[in-house]
């Protein structure tokens, strides 16, 4: 119980600290929303009119930082997220988020899960058959691919599969000429458009899982209880999954919880390269245009997602591992 209270209060304190930083740091960036809007309208429109457009959407250039900060805290917690004062001028932030959220969750979330599952299975097999065929080339290849920048892989895949071979679309989340709906054409189009960005992420993220899993397996396989299982004459398969892998996977599980937390912040670069309208892309736009309302909501969501998954990972570890409970 003491553990739960301590973790929860730590969670609340971190959330408050992060939200305070989220408020102040963007406002210390050079420029302001008015200057950004003037630049977008190429100094053509009357600054007085632009300022009054922005204030009609809730921008208060002259209000003091402290009162603004308290309104900000209240608004964030009550869900009064306001309207964008950047590129999507006047659009409610809530709409922007809900528009982008499913695409990011779908693409990045699903890819993260797939990478975790595939990575662990491959890691288990490679670690079990140490020095085998798989193990002899996989780790060395992965050391390379895991460290390639994913925007670069993305551009390479576009060049190969979209521009040269013309097999797969390189941009958008679905063919914009199809009306969204539960039609097979639409679903097929969504899947088709997800292939390249998903592969890009998979290629770069799967390596980490395989490498850690393989190394954990190698240590675990040397443990006494595995030798014991062999002595009992259990099948290889049973030992591999139920004895070795089950224990070797522990550190990877908390890593997985954390990487789920980072799904929301998406992959700004992947979404940018593939013209995929998710949250990461919205963040880039918000920062480029000093769009404080959108930026602060995005940062808050990212913070909450990461903190919640850390908390869950903590609780999960304690539940799985009695040693952690004792240290509590």
């Amino acid at each position: 119980m003491r553990f739960v209270v301590r973790r929860l209060s730590m969670f609340l304190f971190t959330l408050w600290a992060a939200m305070t930083l989220n408020f102040f740091i963007p406002r210390f960036m050079p420029g302001n929303p008015l200057q950004a809007l003037e630049a977008r309208t190429r100094a053509k429109l009357s600054p007085a009119a632009l300022e009054s457009i922005l204030s009609s959407f809730g921008y208060k250039p002259n209000a003091g930082l402290v009162p603004q900060y308290f309104t900000y805290l209240k608004d964030m917690l009550t869900g009064q997220w306001g309207q964008s004062i950047g590129l999507s001028l006047g659009e409610p932030v809530r709409d922007i988020i809900f528009q982008a959220l499913p695409w990011t969750l779908g693409l990045i979330g699903l890819t993260t899960v797939i990478a975790f599952v595939l990575g662990n299975v491959a890691g288990i097999v490679a670690g079990w058959r140490r020095g085998g065929t798989l193990d002899s080339w996989l780790p060395s290849t992965l050391v390379v691919t895991a460290n390639l920048p994913y925007y670069w892989i993305g551009m390479l895949l576009i060049l190969l599969f979209a521009t040269t071979l013309n097999w797969l679309p390189a941009d958008f989340n679905y063919d914009p000429s199809i009306l969204p709906g539960l039609s097979p054409g639409y679903i097929g189009s969504v899947a088709q458009h997800a292939v390249l960005p998903a592969f890009t992420l998979l290629i770069t993220s799967i390596g980490g899982w395989i490498l850690t899993m393989r190394n954990n397996m190698i240590t675990t396989v040397a443990e006494d209880y595995v030798r014991m299982a062999r002595a009992k004459g259990l099948s290889d398969r049973k030992i591999m999954f139920n004895y070795a892998a089950r224990n070797a996977m522990l550190p990877n599980i908390s890593g997985f919880a954390m990487s789920l937390g980072f799904v929301l912040s998406g992959s700004v670069l992947v979404e940018y390269v593939f013209n995929y309208p998710g949250l990461g892309y919205q963040l880039l736009n918000a920062v480029d245009n000093n769009d404080y309302p959108l930026m602060q909501v995005l940062f808050m969501l990212y913070t909450i997602a990461v903190l919640v998954s850390l908390l869950v990972a903590d609780f999960f570890m304690v539940w799985l591992d009695p040693r952690a409970r004792e240290k509590g």
């Binding site: 809007l37 009357s46 007085a48 390189a170 941009d171």
Partner: protein
């Protein structure tokens, strides 16, 4: 690589146009010369069959919000498609007669303080209600009532840089706008840039600045058929007032978040109308099909703006040395890969505004071509030489890779005479802030264009725009102060004849050559790519009937009205 043009970027052509609007005679305007009279329709390609789809590939940088407020937030996707202005004025042909749109003719009084329009009869809003002169007067009065809508400062007093409109009234088919002083330089904005909205709808929507207008009702040639965050689909307005128009039946306007995907779709033929920078456009795009074409009319300058009040560039000799030392043709050929032409020191964009260029003054000034001996001499009078070089920091925007390439060439050229250039790439926000605050020694910048050289030069040189270094100014970023130049701008605005305007502008050109308050490097162009595989009727170098980029409004309407499907014929 990125050249972002968003939202009101189409307002690109800004503050007004004098040239077309300065005479006091009444114009029964017509196009194509086929018909005249007070209520004629612009004669376009008649007798063409309907059909065809336009797919636009133009980086918009954000997904669509499916709102269509033409006055504030959605100018780019509403104006020209759904809403129309009174006249269309072609900034590329500043001496041409305006094309009548919702107004059939216009007239100025002798002092250019009163402008009246005859409003077209027989036009219907897309909900079936009749369009009247009341709607026009209502729209202009709406701008007065809500100053967030008055983006061209029409109701602001002339002392505050506005047009000084004092009233807008309708009587019968006539609308009369009154101004407190000569407003001819605002003619372009008043007649061409203000979209007319229906009174019967807008009078009931509360604050029109925030109105989302998700079910737009306009007079334009298209209506919204469906809209999602990724795509706007427009279809032809069946009750459009121009007979037999539009020919094209569907427009798809996907929301491209960055240039590369848009460029790929143009190169694969998926999209047929583009409007952004394509690196190595000839090999990437033009060579892919005989149907793929480009045309990029120059509209403004990309200049090095020297800080004229502090730092080394406050010294005229240094500015002269830089202007003499640049080989602009080389910069255009290497830095811009020939996709943007070289600029000249008068600040007049050629060939678009050739008629305003004082070419004899340019050649006698010695700035016509690179002149290294003059450059070295000028730098020597400023106290610098190859053995005692000047260090100069030039700021630019991160992501404009062509400007970076230009600056590399500039750096080499200036190193030859004894100026060591350091290039500083800044993020958008920092760049804009430094530009407006005058926080630079020299800065690379491309201002918006206008329908004559007046608009760019006025923005960049009139000291009425001045602020102290450190406070944000809305123009004259180099803080150049010269009362003679200010007076020449005043004379241009008050001029009631083209020759008086020409005279005023030539004076400004003279000071551009003598004082070097700006150093134009290359000319910025309207990026434009089009495919003739299915559609014909595109604007081209041979037929410059409108600014050709899909993001320039209201010009986009002129293009859409002329396009037709080749296969449907």
């Amino acid at each position: 690589m990125r050249r972002t043009k968003i939202l009101a970027a189409g307002a690109a052509i800004g503050l007004a146009a004098a040239v077309a609007g300065c005479s006091s005679t009444k114009h029964a305007s017509d196009t194509g010369g086929s018909s005249t009279g007070s209520n004629t329709v612009p004669a376009l390609s008649a007798n063409l069959k309907a059909g065809g789809t336009v797919t636009i590939a133009n980086e918009t940088g954000a997904t669509w919000n499916c709102q269509f407020n033409p006055l504030t937030t959605n100018q780019q996707e509403a104006n020209g498609y759904l809403y129309e202005s009174l006249l269309y004025i072609n900034p590329l042909q500043s001496s041409a007669t305006p094309t009548p749109m919702l107004a059939t003719s216009y007239a100025w009084n002798s002092t250019d303080t009163q402008l009246s329009f005859d409003v077209r009869s027989g036009v219907k809003w897309s909900d079936g209600t009749a369009f009247t002169a009341q709607d026009v007067a209502y729209t202009f009065n709406l701008l007065k009532q809500y100053n967030s809508l008055d983006t061209f400062a029409l109701w602001t007093a002339p002392s505050g840089g506005g047009a000084g409109m004092t009233s807008a009234t309708a009587s019968g088919d006539k609308v009369t706008l009154t101004f407190s002083s000569n407003a001819s330089v605002f003619f372009y904005d008043v007649a061409n840039m203000v979209p007319i909205v229906p009174q019967h709808i807008w009078s009931t929507v509360g604050n029109p600045g925030n109105y989302t207008n998700t079910k737009p009702v306009g007079t334009g040639p298209f209506v919204v058929s469906s809209c999602s965050a990724d795509n706007i689909k427009y279809t032809a307005n069946k009750s459009y007032w121009m007979p037999n128009e539009p020919h094209v039946q569907t427009i798809n306007y996907p929301a491209y978040l960055s240039n590369d995907p848009a460029n790929n779709d143009l190169a694969s033929g998926k999209a047929n109308w583009g409007g952004q920078y394509i690196p190595s456009v000839n090999s990437f795009y033009v060579s892919k099909s005989t149907n793929f074409h480009i045309w990029s009319p120059p509209v403004a300058n990309v200049s090095l703006i020297p800080n004229t009040v502090q730092g080394p560039t406050a010294n005229l000799n240094v500015r002269q040395a830089i202007a003499y030392a640049l080989n602009r043709a080389q910069i255009a050929a290497i830095g811009e890969q020939g996709e943007e032409p070289a600029a000249n020191q008068t600040g007049v964009v050629t060939p678009t505004f050739n008629s305003f260029l004082n070419s004899s003054a340019l050649s006698s000034s010695g700035y016509g071509a690179q002149n290294l001996s003059k450059a070295t001499a000028a730098l020597k009078s400023a106290g610098y030489s190859s053995s005692h070089p000047l260090s100069l920091t030039v700021k630019t925007v991160t992501g404009y890779t062509d400007w970076d390439a230009d600056l590399q060439v500039i750096k080499q050229e200036l190193a030859g005479i004894g100026i060591n250039v350091t290039v500083l790439d800044e993020a958008d926000n920092t760049f804009t802030s430094d530009l407006q605050n005058g926080n630079f020694q020299a800065i690379m910048y491309g201002p918006p264009a206008g329908p004559s050289p007046y608009y760019e030069l006025h923005l960049m040189l009139d000291s009425a725009n001045d602020q102290a270094i450190g406070s944000a100014g809305q123009g004259d970023y180099g803080r150049y102060k010269n009362s003679a130049v200010d007076a020449a701008f005043g004379a241009y605005a008050a001029a009631t004849s083209p020759s008086a305007q020409q005279q005023a502008l030539e004076q400004v050109e003279t000071y551009m050559l003598n004082d070097v308050p700006l150093i134009p490097v290359v000319e910025s162009v309207d990026w434009y790519q089009y495919s003739t595989a299915e559609l014909a009727g595109w604007p081209s170098a041979a037929d410059q009937y409108a600014q050709p980029s899909p993001w320039t409004y209201p010009d986009v309407e002129q293009v859409l009205l002329r396009l037709y499907s080749k296969t449907a014929q």
